[in-house]
Amino acid sequence: MNKIIEKYNLSENVAKFIIEAPMIAKSRKPGNFVILRVGEKGERMPLTIVDSDIEKGTITLIVQNVGVSSGKLCKLEAGDFITDLVGPLGKATHIHKAGTILALGGGVGIAPLYPIVKAFKQAGNRVFTVLAARSKDLIILENEMREWSDEVVVMTDDGSSGRKGLVTEGAEEFIKREKIDECVAIGPAIMMKFCALTTKKYDIPTQVSLNTIMVDGTGMCGACRVTVNGETKFTCIDGPEFNAHQIDFDELLQRLRAYKTEEDQAKSKK
């Protein structure tokens, strides 16, 4: 049981939680995720750790209400308890001094991108960041990102914040203007696919962090299988970050829909 210390609603469907987890706060590294469960019949749900405070013994998670399980989590308030929380899981991001980093975040994917941006900046890199979403209220952590980026561009589908356009348009502007050494992109699978196609054109090494279906998160079930460079990998223990140019995104998109029927049924029931 882990206590929720603070909760903020970042938008109608996106909530930020500060959760008591002293050991994870201490041991986690950027790129790591946790698995949590709400209720005794709750589902195990992976979420990337956004931030941590070792002194206070807390971690920060950001979740978008997209289904039954994320909905249950979003209903919790400060003072409530998370039934189960385990981590940190997954391989940490390889943070190093690369020179200039292009960071691309889509929707709630901005949350897992944040600790990576922060760590790359702290490692002495220049960081250019593009935040993209459908509309203004889905752009999160903009101020925090500005704090750790040399420059931030916001792109929205409807132009309600920043400029109207896609994440890849913002990305290409930076690519054409600056010499980008590495790129990291996190967001919906389809967004990461197009980011990968864009950076491939310019031959920029690119990492993405995958949010596949998982049950245990420790290598046991294999639900998170993904094809990377022609080989099957497990996102939970081999990832969650992979070379974007080697991922079979079409298979990934297909696999993310594996439980679509069951998920739709569950949503309409509750």
Partner: protein
């Protein structure tokens, strides 16, 4: 060893046992036929995932079966038991109707008698070495059924006895993983007076006993009682804790842990790496069984989904394959088919599981192996292409090797494929301990007698060492590791 022999002889010569032995002539004992386990009828049991197939023995049945045991001078059955249970002693206690004493005897040797009585392959262990089989070519004493009877009797009596533990010695040890090897280790170490904490990554204690073995074979409630027993003896359980990640070995040493037993299991499912294996509707048996057994995905109030299939193919011939295929039948499949590359004779699953599966209408497509899966329009698996096999020369395992029959390929309509072809060691722990010596199979290298690894304070056992075995072999490892860790710690910290 002689000490142990002397102890067995002494116990055999106590007056009640001598009297009991002499009370029934040997020929009367051997004339009794082996008891038949009452089972729920197949058409009834396939309606429920939680309905246990075997009903257990009644007290009357147990006493009569126990009477068959000759209480041999040289009890070879004990040699067949990986944890060396004093089998004649508990069997004779049953014959004498001292059922609670029989349960106490079992608990001296095993942390999980109700579990072992259900899932051990007794036909390959104690019962294989029974006098009846070895010397008379008759059906052996039903030692497994009797073990289960004694453990169940105690549980149902409400008079659960907590085994005696030595006074605490203040030395902290940790078990990593909470499956059978760790639980067996923890039970022995707590009896020796250590402070024992079991760390588990999942949200439930029990490892494969909870996520793997289905309730129709091993009810979770039975496992829970055995866990309560260990708690009662003072074992501390920490769930949602991944040793090496949540805290490092160094962190735990700072907290005072002096030695570790790694029983983290073979938690990495193998796939065949054939085309179409990553289609939706193809999954590991670990995933399928975990969703059902651990997450209760088949129950309507569970948030975890599970894919249901009408035509389910399970690849493999082991116990896990049987568990998965029988589960699919219970979840409503019209056809549930085992696809195994050798023949029924070479199948590694327990005979009882194969028999139960056959009774339940499971189809067996032997001498066939998938080479490709094809999707439907929605990208879900729709067809399995199978290569027909024939048996060739024996391989290293002594079983005849399956050889493809050229050009003999068949297609099978499927909508769910469960891959149950074995597991590999979980790499999480070794990845956190760069100094630990591993084998080329990714298992932890240990001294087979002491279960000690290349890092002196780290012992290991179960599937992380064996790469995929049985509950009872894992428990045997846990016992040996406990005995040797005890010696190691006594020499290091006490003398």
């Amino acid at each position: 060893m002689t000490d142990n022999k002397d102890k067995l002889t002494q116990e055999r010569n106590v007056s009640w046992r001598v009297e009991l032995r002499n009370s029934v002539p040997a020929k009367d004992r051997t004339a009794i036929p082996r008891v038949k386990m009452t089972e729920v009828e197949p058409q009834d049991r396939i309606k429920s995932q939680t309905c246990e197939v075997n009903c257990g023995l009644s007290s009357e049945q147990a006493v009569i079966e126990a009477r068959r045991c000759m209480d041999c001078v040289n009890p070879t059955c004990i040699e067949g038991c990986p944890v060396s249970i004093n089998i004649p002693k508990f069997v004779k206690q049953i014959e004498a109707q001292k059922f609670l004493d029989a349960a106490a005897t079992l608990k001296e040797y095993s942390a999980l008698p109700a579990v072992c009585g259900r899932v051990c392959p007794q036909e390959k262990q104690c019962e294989l070495r029974c006098f009846y089989l070895e010397k008379m070519k008759k059906e052996p004493v039903a030692i497994g059924y009797l073990e289960r009877f004694a453990a169940d009797y105690e549980r149902q009596s409400g008079k659960i006895q907590i085994p005696k533990v030595a006074a605490g010695n203040g030395i902290k040890v940790a078990a990593i993983g909470s499956g059978p090897s760790s639980l067996s280790f923890a039970g022995d170490m707590i009896k020796l007076g250590y402070e024992v904490t079991v760390f588990e990554a999942l949200h439930e204690i029990g490892g494969v006993l909870k996520y793997g073995i289905p309730e129709f074979r091993l009810p979770n409630s039975v496992v829970d009682v055995e866990l309560e027993n260990l708690r009662g003896m003072g074992v501390n359980f920490e769930k949602n804790f991944v040793v090496g990640r949540t805290a490092s070995f160094e962190d735990l040493k700072e907290l005072g842990y002096k030695a570790f037993f790694v029983g983290s299991g073979a938690g990495l499912p193998n796939f065949m790496n054939i085309p179409g294996e990553n289609l939706n509707g193809v999954m590991s048996s670990n995933e399928y069984l975990t969703r059902v057994n651990l997450m209760y995905a088949n129950q309507s109030d569970s948030d975890t989904p599970v894919m249901l299939g009408k035509r389910v193919a399970v690849i493999g011939g082991g116990n896990t394959a049987m568990d998965a295929v029988r589960t699919s039948k219970r979840l409503g499949a019209e056809r549930s088919i085992i696809i195994y590359r050798r023949s029924l004779e070479e199948m590694p699953a327990r005979l009882e599981e194969i028999k139960h599966a056959q009774e339940e209408g499971i189809e067996f497509m032997n001498l066939a192996s998938p080479i490709e899966y094809k999707p439907d329009a929605n990208g879900r698996v729709a067809k399995a292409r199978l290569q027909r096999m024939q048996l060739g020369e024996p391989d290293a395992s002594g079983r005849r090797r399956p050889v493809p029959i050229d050009g003999d390929i068949v297609e099978l309509d499927v909508d769910l494929v469960i891959v149950a072809i074995g597991v590999s060691p979980n790499p999480l722990i070794p990845a956190c301990l760069p100094g630990l010596k591993m084998t080329r199979y990714g298992t932890i290298e240990v001294n087979e007698e002491t279960m000690q690894s290349s890092v002196p304070e780290i012992f290991a056992g179960g599937d992380i060492v064996r790469g995929g075995a049985t509950v009872i072999l894992a428990m045997g490892d846990g016992r040996r590791a406990a005995a040797c860790m005890h010696r190691y710690l006594q020499e290091k910290y006490v003398k």
